[in-house]
């Protein structure tokens, strides 16, 4: 076991310099909001640890989580972390099929009992075992077996964390997330449909580095990435505060990039890193590209529609609690407060911004 090369040795063997390696550690550290001492810990951990075996199960899903994972932006993440975790079982990428694939699964479960990480993409149908079978076994059976010897479980995306689209009404297959069917194991819910690639990589690096699960919110999501509302980190927030809203996708306000709240934006009740890390190496995120947030990192967001109707009654809950925990009545009361805030907001600021726009328009004309 000790003969296995460490992650650092393998990175060097792959032709990357120590400087590349330190840069990678620094980037990951910055993403996780760590101080310099935390980055030093990452460096030390990755230099001295060998690859942790990973079983990645695909249940009721669409593979968007796997696809997002391989989009990890820094080359060193796609190149190294993808390999470095020793991805022993994943239906999407593994060479083997059929009984040979199943052998990989069982070999890992046996050889690394209690040591491997279990990553789950997809939900579990509970209405009928036949709704999802692999190698003749039901999703529930497979998950139960694999969870038994797992060190920890990462539930990727909305499917494994909250059931996602298949759990939307009327949930014909009785789809349930991992935490509803598995008990007694640490479960990290990495939310989103899919989660942001760098968030997925960040969670893996956290586990590798500190050998413990990151701090989670009340819904089991890592605080490092899910403690802020998209609304609070949105660069269009000043427009909301000034009462400047897009009223139609083809109006002048859409062209100016005003707030999408009235178009149904779920930013005010969605906890995710879209406004901070953004997507695909920071290129953009839904609101920046003109579409309201649909709230894909929240449970039951599919039934919280229609998407294009703005939520007057969204609950203005705090960071530590969730819509499920706050009573509906309270949600409506605070919602009305926020809606009022959105409408009769700082008029002076609004006038100032409009004045500024007129000025710049007259300058360009």
């Amino acid at each position: 076991m000790n003969k296995k090369p460490t992650l650092y040795e393998e990175i060097r063997a792959k032709g990357h310099s120590r400087r590349d390696f330190l840069k990678f550690c620094g980037t990951i550290g910055a993403m996780m909001g760590l101080q310099a001492s935390g980055v030093a810990q990452i460096v030390k951990a990755l230099e001295s640890k060998s690859r942790i075996p990973v079983i990645w199960l695909h249940l009721q899903e669409c593979t968007c989580c796997s696809e997002s994972f391989i989009r990890s932006s820094h080359p060193i993440v796609a190149d190294i972390v993808l390999d470095k975790i020793s991805l022993d079982y994943t239906e999407t990428l593994m060479a083997a099929s059929g009984h040979q694939a199943e052998k990989s699964l069982h070999d890992t479960m046996e050889k690394y009992h209690g040591e491997y990480l279990l990553m789950v993409e997809g939900s579990i149908p509970t209405e009928n075992d036949g709704y999802c079978c692999i190698g003749g076994k039901s999703a529930y059976e497979i998950l139960n077996e694999a969870a038994e010897g797992a060190k920890a479980i990462i539930a990727w995306g909305n499917c494994a964390s909250a059931g996602c689209v298949q759990a939307a009404s009327p949930n014909p297959t009785g789809a349930k997330p991992v935490h509803k069917v598995i008990k007694g194991k640490p479960i990290i819910n990495v939310q989103g449909c899919p989660p942001i690639a760098e968030v997925m990589a960040g969670v893996v690096i956290h586990l590798l580095t500190f050998d413990r699960i990151p701090q989670l919110d009340a819904l089991g999501r890592p605080k490092a990435f899910y403690s802020r509302r998209v609304h609070d980190t949105c660069y269009r927030r000043p427009n909301y505060d000034a009462g400047l809203f897009v009223q139609s996708f083809d109006d002048e306000n859409a062209k100016r990039g005003y707030c999408l709240y009235k178009m149904g934006c779920r930013g005010p009740n969605t906890y995710n890193s879209c406004g901070v890390i953004k997507w695909n190496n920071g290129v953009s995120f839904p609101i920046q590209s003109g579409h309201p947030c649909i709230g894909c990192s929240e449970a039951n967001f599919w039934d919280n529609g229609p998407f294009y109707q703005h939520l007057q009654s969204f609950p203005g809950f705090g960071i530590e609690t969730t819509a499920d925990k706050i009573g509906l009545g309270l949600g409506v009361v605070t919602g009305v407060g926020i809606a009022a805030h959105a409408i009769s907001t700082n008029i002076r600021k609004r006038k100032m911004i409009q004045k500024g726009i007129k000025k710049s328009d007259s300058q360009t004309n």
């Binding site: 009721q60 059929g98 879209c274 695909n280 839904p286 529609g305 229609p306």
Partner: protein, 312 residues
Amino acid sequence: MSQRIVVDPITRIEGHLRVEAEIKDGKIVDAFSSGTMVRGIEIILKGRDPRDAWAFTERVCGVCTTVHALASVRTVENALGITVPPNADLIRNLMFCAQYMQDHVVHFYHLHALDWVDVVSSLKADPKATSVLAQSISKWPKSSPGYFSDVQYRIQKFVESGQLGIFANGYWGHNAYKLPPEVNLLAVAHYLEALEWQKEIVKVHTIFGGKNPHPNYLVGGVPCAINLDENNALNAERLAFVGELFDKAQDFINQVYIPDLLAIASFYKDWGAIGGGLSNYMTYGDLPTNGYADVGSRSNSGADITFLVHLF
């Protein structure tokens, strides 16, 4: 005497697939395939707001993300008699093209190649010979002997670690793998390169649709506004970004993917005679320039490409 072979799961696809084959005297006489997972998205869609339908439909597949959403918005627009603005047609076409390019490359290298490429055999290759071969079929700049020897060293180290990860339990060394070691090394090197490459072209989706996988669509047009004098909308910088992404993607496809495809296929010509070929395919054409309903304004998707895609 007949025998039954079951392959379950079929890997390197999206979804869950089981194939059973009946074999008599060494030949397959009958075969059955079944998708072994259901979510009931059709049932869930009933009674929903048609403007929301694209998001549900898009989640049918996260590998070929975007195409199901596009089909959904077109369907709703057709039903409601909505004509989208010409710029929306063009933006949707660009997103579709980005997907078409990314999906072909990922399908070839990461999903299908391991059925034709023997990863372990690449360790026996002479990197210099691979370099000569690579330079004879393409002008791709990363084809030096040193480059291939670095890749080979990486694979060597990986195999020696004893943790084979996604390459564990393959049929390595089986005589159905027909590529010489040098071609295997070429393909393995480009498998790794393509893994880096694929995350770039999808940025076209991020620019127009905010994210990838699963970018945003909109019934009636596209959500991203064009305003050349605004930094909150599509302006010259965003358009130049899109242009650059397509240029680079095209270079990779023309100089790596297509030469590799032809080189590898030349060792498996006999496989071209197996299966249904073109007898049962329909192509409708795509990339409309005057609304999807106007069949005449769609370009033909090309039967020759379809043939290669289904061969590999």
